[in-house]
Amino acid sequence: MNLDLGAPRLDVGDERVVAFLDRFGRRLLTLGRRFPELASLGFFLRRAEIERELSRLDGLRQPRGVVFHVPPANVDTVFVYSWALSALAGNINVVRISPRAGAAARAILDVWQELDEPVITRTQRMITYDRDDELTAELSAAADLRVLWGGDDSVRALRKFPLQPHARDLTFPDRSSFAIISVTAWQRASARERRSAVEAFFTDAYWFDQAACSSPRGVFWVGDQDVSAEFRALLVAVTQEKGHVTEPAMAVQNRVSTYGAAADGRVARISFDSDAVTSLESTDVLREWLGVGVFTHSRVSSLAELVPKVRRKDQTVTHFGFEQAELIDFAKRSGVDRVVPFGSALRFFPVWDGYHLLTEFTKLITVTV
């Protein structure tokens, strides 16, 4: 891997990068029909959004230097967010793209090549390789910051490659997420509001096969009555309307994992509401990935009762029907990273897992006179 040391220096918020990201984003927006996730990515990269992000940086900041990104293989867009913010910070970036990356990732790379901007191509690299310890070691040794996304095991494996003494890792390991619904708010909501809540939940859960860190794996019903039956029926209807198809192998996967959870005594009841919706009765959310369209339904009488169930691993809470003050109080007491309304689980935020990425991608300089 030949890093171009004579490459032009970039500043934090370099205009050439901002202009490139804007162009890049606009091109991705045109692909949004085929890949809906590229539309949200495209929006994120527009000049207005990027400048808003830059304005959040305080103090005297410099790029960190060389940043080596290892994004997850199967979430097609994460590598762009990770890279774009680091490029915006003025870093030289090397992004490892998995050869198993999906169609959306390939579409992104096509746009990347098509735009072919000299300042960018000399400072920014997207490289595809599968398993190559030598190259990983070399890139790790060259990095000032290494950004690791993915499962706990792969983060552990990658951490074995030494960094320079001053360098460090920014890791985004396995996380899990769940939804909370206020029973009284649900009961008060109109039929239309309930339906659109379920449609938003569908987006949160079914995009990325319920396997993204922020995809809800279960629902906590907060209140005194059980109104989950209507939600489940609506979800069956919405999956049908959206044309969601469960492949036979996935249907088998759902059975293996849910029967296994029952064997362990972790679920009291399994209901196959349709081929696309499996509902589990359980006192807690099951945090591991069980399949596509598999949800625990659990009851708690209040958010306070939910607090002790929250674990370090829990990342995103998608909510329906709560007041802002309740949510802030819950977030503070439970320690989750992110609380968002239904429909926003998969939206990328420049603050992720508790890190403000742009801050992490820069270093703070102090000058005292």
């Binding site: 997850p72 979430v75 706990d152 096969d209 293996v256 029952a262 362990d264 990935w289």
Partner: protein, 329 residues
């Protein structure tokens, strides 16, 4: 005779003895009366990879069988003495139908050391070796065919019925090719083979072609493919003499299921194969959903009485997206 009463009794038996199995059936709201075989609750066969399921106390475990999965953990199947004896007995009863009552000289299309490996191939050879005598192994330790050994075997035993056993792909690649090239006469052989057609599909060899070419080029006409798995050890589904499908032993059955509704498919419509057997008593493996696709061709309309079916291949793997999948370096 319907298997339903015995299967219902087995279901209750395992629920009493295997807490995990009982919890699964309770979570599914399974009842205890069943009108048809297809009404019985099934377990996905992969559950034996993720969980230890047994209906005998630890002190009674006599043998633990493991499958050779290409990925992940192997299945673990627990047998007590009675179950180990029953599986040998029933396998023998099933194979007698094609082999007759006496042990035949046996040509194994594999290497001798395979029985010491923990592979499916090894387990297959080990299980089948009981049904032959004077075993000769066709492959040497570097997996090359030993023509001299084959010729000696045929000189000694080729004039009387003999048993040939091996994995489908090896049988084709080594035995067929060698016999054809050297004009060997295999017409007294009875071939029992298993393992699937995937590797042969590249060479455009399917079951019909396999049978035709063996018959034309080597004289070998008594060919029986079979289907079975370690999770239902002792139960094998053997192909009829004309190759018109796999048949169930009288203590077993298959149900072809629609992968969307899981209802039983009508004759002629492919689906996921569920294997049913009254044999498993030491672990709750009497009704298992496999990850194989198959189709039922007919009932009581072929070589032998009963249901006849074919295995069409593996279920295609599910591709999953998600964050937790960065593969290390």
């Amino acid at each position: 005779m319907s298997l339903v009463p015995e299967l219902a009794e087995l279901t209750a038996y395992h629920r009493e003895r295997c807490a995990e199995y009982d919890r699964i059936l309770a979570a599914l709201g399974a009842g205890d009366t069943f009108a048809e075989v297809a009404d019985l609750p099934w377990l996905p066969v992969r559950l034996f990879k993720t969980h230890e399921l047994k209906s005998i106390p630890d002190s009674e475990v006599f043998r633990v069988l493991t499958s050779s999965g290409t990925t992940g953990a192997p299945s673990r199947i627990f047998l007590d003495k009675a179950a180990a004896a029953a599986q040998t007995r029933q396998l023998s009863a099933t194979l007698q139908r094609v082999l007759g009552p006496s042990r035949l000289p046996m040509l194994v299309v594999d290497r001798k050391s395979i029985v010491r490996s923990s592979s499916a191939r090894g387990a297959g050879v080990l299980g089948m070796a009981n049904f032959g005598r004077k075993h000769v192994y066709l492959l040497d330790e570097s997996e090359q065919p030993d023509l001299a050994a084959l010729q000696r075997f045929l000189d000694t035993h080729g004039g009387e019925p003999f048993l040939v056993f091996g994995f489908t792909f090896l049988v084709w690649q080594y035995l067929y090719v060698l016999a054809r090239e050297h004009g060997l006469d295999l017409s007294n052989g009875i071939l029992i083979h298993s393992g699937g057609w995937k590797k042969l599909a590249d060479r455009a060899v399917d079951n019909a072609e396999f049978r035709r070419r063996f018959a034309e080029d080597t004289g070998l006409r008594r060919i029986h493919n079979y289907y079975g798995m370690v999770e239902q050890i002792g139960t094998v589904f053997v192909e009829g003499p004309s190759g018109d499908g796999l048949y169930c032993p009288d203590f077993a059955d298959v149900v072809i299921r629609d992968p969307r509704t899981w209802a039983e498919q009508p004759v002629g419509v492919p689906g996921v194969i569920e294997v049913v057997s009254t044999l498993p008593r030491s672990y709750p493996g009497h009704v298992l959903l496999t990850e194989d696709l198959g189709v039922c061709h007919g009932i009581d309309d072929g070589d032998w009485p009963g249901k006849r079916f074919t295995v069409l291949g593996r279920l295609p793997k599910a591709e999953v997206r998600g964050c937790s999948d960065t593969v290390a370096a």
